[in-house]
Amino acid sequence: MYLEMKNIVRRFPGVLANDHICLEIEKGEIHGLLGENGAGKTTLMNVLCGLARPDEGEILIDGMKVEFGNCLDAIKCGIGMVHQHFMLVPVFTVTENFILGNEPRKGARIDTARAREMVLELSEKHGLKVDPDALIKDISVGMQQRVEILKALSRGAELMILDEPTAVLTPQEVEDLYRIMRSLQEAGHTIIFITHKLQEIKEITDRVTVLRDGRVVGIVRTKDVEQVELARMMVGRDVVLRVEKDQHAPGEVMMSVKDLRANDSRGLTKLKDITFDVRAGEIVGIAGVAGNGQEELVEVLTGLRKQESGSITLDMQDISQLNPRERMYAGLAHIPQDRQRRGLVMNFSLVDNFLLGYEDLKPFARGPMLDYREAEKFASKLIKMFDVRTPGSQILARTLSGGNQQKAILAREFQRDPKLLIAAQPTRGLDVAAIEFIHNELIKFRDQDKAVLLISMELTEILDLSDRILVIYEGEIVGEFKSGQATPEQLGLLMAGSKKGQM
C-alpha cells in the first residue's frame, strides 16, 4: 500500500466534514474520489496535502507515519495538488509561474535560461506541450492546467491530487487531460482524481472511493460497477441520470435581443452584434468555452453592464435602458454564474438573503421598516418548497453547502414569478442530486410557458436541457441547432472556433 489515511476526522463548526475516513491508495493507480458537494472530498484532500490538520487519525506513506504541518511537508513527501482554482500569476509567463517559489539561481539572479530549459525538459518528458514564453492570461484554461501539473511534477510529486480538473475544460481538453493522466500513470505516478461526474470516473479511474456525508460508503474497482450503482452510493438513493423532458411547443417570443454590442471592463469588444430570440416555453442554451462573451452577455441582459448598441425587448417592452431593479420588476430573474459573489451575501443569514430584491416590496416593506415576521414566514416557505437543508433560517449562507446555496438562490429567483429566467452555470460545482433537482426545476418552469436562457460551459447540460442551442465564440453566435440535431463533436468544434461544423 502506497498511501493510507486512517480514521481521519475533521470537524467544522456544526459539521463533521470527515467522519473517520479511511483511504487506501495503491502505487501507480488512478484513484477516483467521488462524492457530492459537502461530502468531504476537498477537506480530506486538504488534510492530505497539508492545508488542514486532522482532528484525529493518521496518514501513512509506504507504511511510515507522516505528519504534515504545512504544504511544504506534503510536497517533500511527494504529494502535489492541482487545485480547482489555479494558483497562477496571470501576468507572468509560463516559465515564471513554473519556477515561482523554487527559482534556479545564478549568483543572486534568477537563471532564466535554465528555468526555460527546465520547463521544456519536463514538458517533453511527459508529453505536456506548453509555450514557456506565453503569458498565463493569454493561454487557454487547459494550458493553464498543464502548467499547474508541470509545476507539481517539478516539485517531485509522486502522488498527484487533481481537484475537479475537468470542470473548466472543453470536451477536447478533457480528452487531452485523460491522455496526460494516462501517460503520468505509465511513468509511475499515482493520481487521485476528485470529481462528482460519474462518466469521468468510469472513463479514467482504476478504483474509486465514494464519500457521502463525510463517510466512506464504498471502495470499488471501477470496471466492476455500473454508473447507476455509483450514483446510488453517492446520493444514497436511486437517481435518474438522464434528464426526463417532454416535448413542449414554444409560444410567443418572450425576449428578443437585437444587434447587441458590448465591451468588457478593459474596453475590448466582447459581444459583436448578437441577435437571438427566446420564446415562452422554451429553453435556449448558449454553449461556449468560458470567456467568449457569456459573462458580458449576462451582465448586459440583467442591466449590470451598459451595452454599446443594440436593443433588448422583454415581453414587448424595451428594457435596454432600465436598471437591474427595474428589469427584475419587469419580469427578469437571474441565477448568477458566481453564486458566492453575485448570488448571495455569504455573511447574511438565509432570511436576509431571501429578502434581496424583495426589500422594497409588500409585505416586507412597511414604510421605512422591514417586516421581519413576514420575512421569516417567507423564508420558511422557501426553505420547505425547495428543500434547502439548513438548521434554520438564521443560519449564515456561507455555512451551507454549494447545492443548498444554489437551491436558496433558485427559490428566491423563482419566487419572483419571472417571465424569463437567465441561468448562468446553474449547476457548476454541484453534486448529482442537486443537479437533478435544479434541472427538473428548470424544466418545470419551462413547462409553465416561461422562457429560460441557459448559459453553460457543460456541454452535457446544454444538450440535456435545451430546446434550442446557440454556440457563442468570441462574442458571436456561430451556430444554431434544434434539440437533438447537434452532436457533442459538432458543438465542440464550433466552441473551439472552427466554422466547419456549421450546418
Binding site: 437591474p324 427584475m328 447574511f348 434581496l356 426589500e359 434554520g392 438564521q394 443560519i395
Partner: protein, 360 residues
C-alpha cells in the same frame, strides 16, 4: 419550531463576540502591565489609580460618563460606515464642524427652548452629515478612497475652525479669548447630576445607539447598506445601488459625528473653540473596532474608553504616571482586537468541542 432548531445549533456561538471583546481588553491590560513594569512603574499602582480616577467619586464618575458620551456617537458613526464597507476616518473633523454649527445656531438665533435646542443639535448633525457625504460621493462616483478624503477633509475643518474664532474671525466672541460667544440657555443641554458637568447628552447618545441598531437591523435602508457592505456585487445584482448607499451611509455616519460635537458644545462647554474635542474622533475608530461595529458593543467600548480617558488624568496626578500610558493601552486594545479576528475560528472550534461534549 424553526427557532428551536436555531438555538440548538448555536447556544454558545452567541457568546463569541462578547468573549472576543473581553479577551481583547484583558490582553491589552496584561500587555500594558508589561510596558509599565519595563518603565519601572508598578502596574498595580497605575491601574489602581486609573480606576480610582474613573469611579471613586461622583465627580470622577460623571467625568467618565462625560467622555463616554461623544465616544458613543463617534463609535456609532464609525460602525455605521463600516457596516456599509466604508472607513470613516473623518469623525474628528465632523465633530469639530458639528460643534461649530451647533454653537452658531446656539448663540446667534433666539428661539424658545423646545425649538432652539433640537435645531442646534440638528444643525450639528446636518453639518457633520454633509461633511461625511462628500467623501461618500467621491467614493461612489469617482472611486476615490474614503480613507484619504475623510482625513484630508479633517484638516480643512481644523483650519476653518481656527480661523472662525481667531482675531477678526466671524464667530469670535467679544473678549480676549479665541472662543465663540456663549450658547444661549435655550440651546443648552440640561445638567442632570448636581455638582458635576454631566448633561443629558449621555441619554441622547444611548437613544441614538438604539436608533442605530433599529436602523441597521430593522429598516430597508439599513438592510441595503449592510448588503452593500458585505457584498456589493451581490447587492448590485439584486438591484440595490451601491453608490447611493455609500453616500447615505457616509451622510449618516458624518451626522452622528456632527452630533457628537453638538452635544459636546451644547452640553459641556456652552461655546465653541477649535480644540474642544480632545481627539474623540480618533478614539471613536478604536471604539467601533472593539465594539465589533455593533451598537451594543460600541456602547460598552465607549464606556471603557471613557474610563481610560477620565481615569488617566487622575492617574497622572496621584500615581505620577504619565497619562500617555493610556495612549499605549488604547493602542494595545486596537492591536489585540484586530488580532483577535484570527481567534474567531479558534473560538468557534472551541464552542463546537464544548457542544459535542455536552451532547454526549
Amino acid at each position: 419550531m424553526e427557532n428551536e432548531k436555531n438555538r440548538k445549533t448555536s447556544p454558545l456561538l452567541a457568546l463569541i463576540s462578547p468573549t472576543q471583546f473581553i479577551l481583547g481588553v484583558l490582553l491589552a491590560f496584561i500587555a500594558g502591565a508589561v510596558f509599565l513594569w519595563v518603565f519601572g512603574e508598578s502596574p498595580a499602582d497605575a491601574y489602581g489609580a486609573l480606576f480610582k480616577g474613573a469611579f471613586s467619586s461622583k465627580r470622577y464618575f460623571a467625568e467618565t460618563l462625560l467622555s463616554t458620551t461623544p465616544l458613543i456617537f463617534g463609535g456609532l458613526a464609525v460602525a455605521l460606515g463600516f457596516r456599509c464597507g466604508l472607513f470613516n476616518m473623518g469623525v474628528e473633523g465632523q465633530i469639530v464642524l458639528g460643534g461649530m454649527a451647533a454653537a452658531y445656531v446656539g448663540y446667534a438665533w433666539e428661539l424658545p427652548l423646545l425649538i432652539h435646542l433640537p435645531l442646534a443639535l440638528l444643525a450639528g448633525a446636518v453639518a457633520g452629515g454633509i461633511w461625511g457625504a462628500i467623501p461618500g460621493y467621491l467614493k461612489a462616483k469617482h472611486r476615490i478612497h474614503e480613507v484619504i478624503t475623510t482625513i484630508m477633509l479633517n484638516y480643512i475643518v481644523f483650519q476653518v475652525a481656527a480661523y472662525m474664532i481667531a482675531v477678526g474671525g466671524p464667530m469670535k466672541a467679544d473678549n480676549e479669548l479665541p472662543v465663540s460667544p456663549d450658547v444661549l440657555p435655550t440651546a443648552q443641554l440640561a445638567r442632570i447630576w448636581e455638582g458635576t458637568r454631566l448633561s443629558g447628552g449621555i441619554f441622547i447618545a444611548l437613544i441614538f445607539a438604539v436608533l442605530v441598531w433599529v436602523f441597521l437591523f430593522k429598516t430597508r435602508l439599513g438592510y441595503k447598506m449592510r448588503a452593500v457592505g458585505l457584498n456589493s456585487s451581490a447587492a448590485e445584482f439584486a438591484g440595490i445601488k451601491p453608490g447611493r448607499m455609500m453616500v447615505w451611509a457616509m451622510f449618516l455616519s458624518g451626522a452622528l459625528g456632527g452630533l457628537a460635537g453638538a452635544v459636546e458644545v451644547l452640553g459641556v462647554h456652552y461655546k465653541f473653540y477649535s480644540t474642544f474635542s480632545p481627539g474623540y474622533g480618533w478614539d471613536a475608530i478604536a471604539v467601533a473596532l472593539l465594539g465589533l461595529n455593533h451598537p451594543v458593543g460600541v456602547v460598552a467600548s465607549a464606556f471603557l474608553f471613557g474610563v481610560l480617558r477620565s481615569g488617566s488624568i487622575t492617574m497622572q496626578a496621584i500615581a505620577q504616571i504619565s497619562k500617555d500610558i493610556v495612549l499605549i493601552l488604547s493602542a494595545l486594545i486596537i492591536f489585540f482586537t484586530a488580532t483577535n479576528q484570527t481567534l474567531r475560528p479558534i473560538l468557534e472550534r472551541l464552542t463546537l468541542r464544548l457542544d459535542t461534549r455536552r451532547a454526549k
